[in-house]
């Protein structure tokens, strides 16, 4: 039982690394979706005994959301925005993977500092979760496109989910649903915004969204 759960943890970490080195936007969308789906299976295995029907319903909602709806929304946004197919990283892939490995080492150390209570027996949850969150940040900060930033947000969400739902299946369902609804609407609103950005700017490169800043002396009236 728990070996399966541990295999999932390993898979999640491997998916982090592949997200860090994958150059194709479509692949990244699929990888993040796959990670969301297998993370959603985790709470079903982590508990002792057969999972409750509630937990099954909740997990299937998450799988539907992260495995089907989000990838569909993001792929649509990518096609509509006519984006280039690669992720256009600001740093090389070797640097990305080294950062990712470093994050994993740091996360493992933190994991030893924060021992989990006895109730869960799945090893490596805390490091895997923190490393996934870090991968999300990496995607947000070092990739040029707005879509990869949404993807990064989703990966962060996956990381939180790995940690949270492995521990707290007994949370009130209302609260969990409210949180899921928020995430769904967030991705939806971001998708709409990406669409507006591509229409307004003819690209979705967020590093060129730099008109508002206090660092550059702003154009003084006469300039366009």
């Amino acid at each position: 039982m728990h070996t399966t759960a541990e295999l999932i943890i390993v898979a999640i970490i491997l998916l982090d690394l592949s997200l860090a080195v994958s150059g194709s936007l479509a692949t990244c969308i699929r990888l993040a979706a796959a990670q969301g789906v297998i993370a959603a299976i985790l709470p079903l295995l982590a508990g002792s005994g057969a999972p409750e029907s509630r937990a099954v319903i909740f997990s299937s909602t998450v799988i539907l959301l992260k495995g089907v709806i989000f990838p569909w929304l993001l792929t649509r946004a990518r096609v509509k925005a006519n984006a280039r197919k690669d992720v256009e990283p600001f740093i090389g892939y070797p640097a990305s993977i080294i950062l990712c490995l470093g994050a994993f080492a740091a996360a493992s150390w933190l994991g030893t500092r924060l021992p989990l209570p006895e109730t869960t027996r799945v090893a490596w949850i805390v490091p895997a979760s923190l490393a996934t969150i870090f991968t999300g940040f990496l995607l947000i900060t070092t990739r040029a496109k707005a879509i990869t930033q949404v993807l990064g947000y989703l990966v962060i969400e996956n990381g939180i989910y790995v940690f949270g739902l492995a521990l707290f299946v007994e949370q009130p369902l209302m609260v969990e649903l409210a949180i899921l609804l928020d995430i769904f609407v967030a991705v939806f609103v971001m998708g709409i915004t990406i669409f507006h950005i591509s229409r307004e700017f003819d690209h979705i490169d967020t590093d060129e969204l730099s008109q508002l800043s206090d660092w550059h002396p702003q154009r003084d009236g006469e300039a366009k």
Partner: protein, 490 residues
């Protein structure tokens, strides 16, 4: 009662999407916000008990922030009626770059505005930290379309930054919530505030500290504490004046409430020293950032945004110092919200008349728009804490508490940054109000001063002055109650 408080704006917000007549929709906005204010006042009078285990309830802290939100929203809705009718006939020419743009459909704007109020209300009344999180995230999502009211590139950029930075920040707060759950997993504390507080002493301290850090960074992003504030000046400068007022006066406070809830648990667990240091550090950092960026500022709405960062820093500092400073910080929260909302309202009038946000191109407010000029200058004196003003009292209490507590370095830094901010703001405000008005050829089609757009600001300013001279007993009670909750016992 509390459910009604959330339902009124929720239902009227949904209705606003369906109404096609502009006049009726604006009427609905004012009516709903008036009803919300009336309900809030009745709660202030009745003070319903908190039922343990309920997800919603109002303690003094929640009540204080609910009151601010409700009053501010009512002012904003009165302002909105005139503002939106101006916008309707405005050609939608960009103020600084001269391109033409469209506005968001008014139904979407008013609908989101009301739903935004509903979400903020939910933040103030939540007793379950998971619920609180969901409500804070909902405020982000519902206010994003408000920032994108003027559909052009710069507002879009601001919206994107706001959406992404705040969503990611708040995602970290979710992690913080889960850590909090992990801290109480042995004690079976869950995420219900009541049970967390009653079991605070047996929570795992390592997890609790980690939880506080994540919650602080997460909600701090939304609150605009430096160095997580980067979205704030952009969003405040690009959104319509009344939205900036609500973001600055109500939303930042709601995010602060999230942090305060976490601090409440930590104080209960005996970690007041740990949280206090973090509050002081980031408070001073925010003050410094604001002071630096106000000095060279060229855009008056960004200037107001940085002044909000300054005040968020003051709140954080005050809570960190503890004791009487907490009272000062909470008083400052009330006074700052009113003053800043008023200033943003006035800035909308200036923007409509001068068609620019550049400070260098706004001159001679006194000659061209005398009433606006008077309010703008009054706002300057109030926001910088010139007596009599509630902000002056708040700042003074924080200073005395810092000195009494032996935090001399913090007190010195605090005074220094306040002085820098005063000088920076003073230069800008004086430059704008005095001097010759530009002889613009466009004088014929100026919208002039609308009384309806100035009255909310004037009322707010009067309230702040009154707070500086006389504190009503009921307000003192509530602030004391809130102060006790965060552990600031004198």
């Amino acid at each position: 009662m509390i459910t009604l408080l959330m339902l009124v704006p929720l239902l009227s917000g949904l209705m606003a999407f369906l109404i096609s007549d502009d006049g009726r929709r604006r009427g609905l906005l004012v009516a709903a916000s008036a009803l919300h204010l009336a309900l809030t006042i009745s709660i202030f009078v009745a003070r319903p008990e908190i039922v343990p285990g309920d997800w919603f309830g109002l303690d003094a802290l929640g009540l204080l922030f609910l009151g601010i939100t409700s009053v501010l929203f009512f002012g904003a809705s009165v302002y909105a009626v005139k503002y939106l009718s101006f916008e309707k006939y405005d050609p939608g020419e960009d103020s600084d770059e001269g391109f033409i743009f469209n506005n968001q459909p008014e139904a979407v704007f008013i609908g989101c505005l009301l739903l935004f109020l509903s979400a903020m209300t939910a933040v103030t009344v939540s007793r379950h930290l998971g619920m609180l999180w969901a409500a804070v995230e909902a405020t982000t999502l519902l206010s994003a379309p408000l920032i994108y009211f003027h559909r052009h590139k710069r507002s879009l950029e601001a919206t994107w930054k706001y959406l992404l930075i705040c969503s990611v920040g708040i995602a970290l707060a979710l992690m913080g919530n889960l850590f909090l759950g992990a801290a109480g997993i042995k004690a079976g504390a869950g995420l219900d505030l009541e049970s967390l507080l009653s079991k605070a002493a047996v929570l795992d301290p390592a997890w609790l500290k980690a939880a506080f850090l994540f919650l602080f960074v997460g909600y701090g992003t939304k609150m605009g504490l430096a160095p997580f504030h980067t979205w704030l000046p952009d969003a405040h400068s690009e959104s319509p004046a009344l939205v900036s007022a609500l973001l600055s006066g109500a939303l930042l406070n709601c995010a602060f409430l999230g942090i305060l809830r976490a601090a409440q648990v930590c104080v209960g667990a005996g970690l007041a020293g740990f949280t206090g240091d973090i509050f002081i550090l980031f408070g001073l950092l925010s003050l410094m950032t604001a002071a630096l960026f106000i000095l060279g500022q060229r855009d008056y709405k960004r200037m107001l945004a940085y002044s909000s960062i300054e005040h968020m820093g003051i709140l954080s500092l005050g809570v960190g110092l503890g004791g009487g400073a907490v009272y000062g910080a909470l008083l400052n929260a009330v006074a700052h919200s009113l003053t800043k909302a008023g200033l943003f309202f006035v800035s909308g009038v200036i923007l409509a008349a001068y068609k620019t946000k550049q400070i260098s191109e706004v001159k001679g407010l006194f000659r061209r728009l005398p009433k606006t000029g008077i309010l703008w200058l009054a706002g300057f004196f109030l926001i910088t804490g010139t007596p009599p003003s509630g902000i002056f009292l708040g700042k003074l209490m924080i200073l005395t508490a810092a000195l009494a507590g032996g935090h001399y370095a913090a007190a010195a830094a605090y005074l220094f940054f306040l002085a820098v901010v005063f000088a920076g703001l003073g230069r800008i405000f004086l430059e704008m109000t005095f001097g010759e008005a530009p002889q613009a050829g466009t004088a014929g089609k100026l919208p002039g001063e609308s009384r309806q757009m100035l009255i909310p600001a004037a009322c707010f300013f009067v309230c702040v002055i009154v707070l500086g001279l006389y504190m009503p007993g009921w307000l003192t009670d509530i602030i004391y109650g809130a102060q006790r909750l965060i552990g600031g016992v004198i």
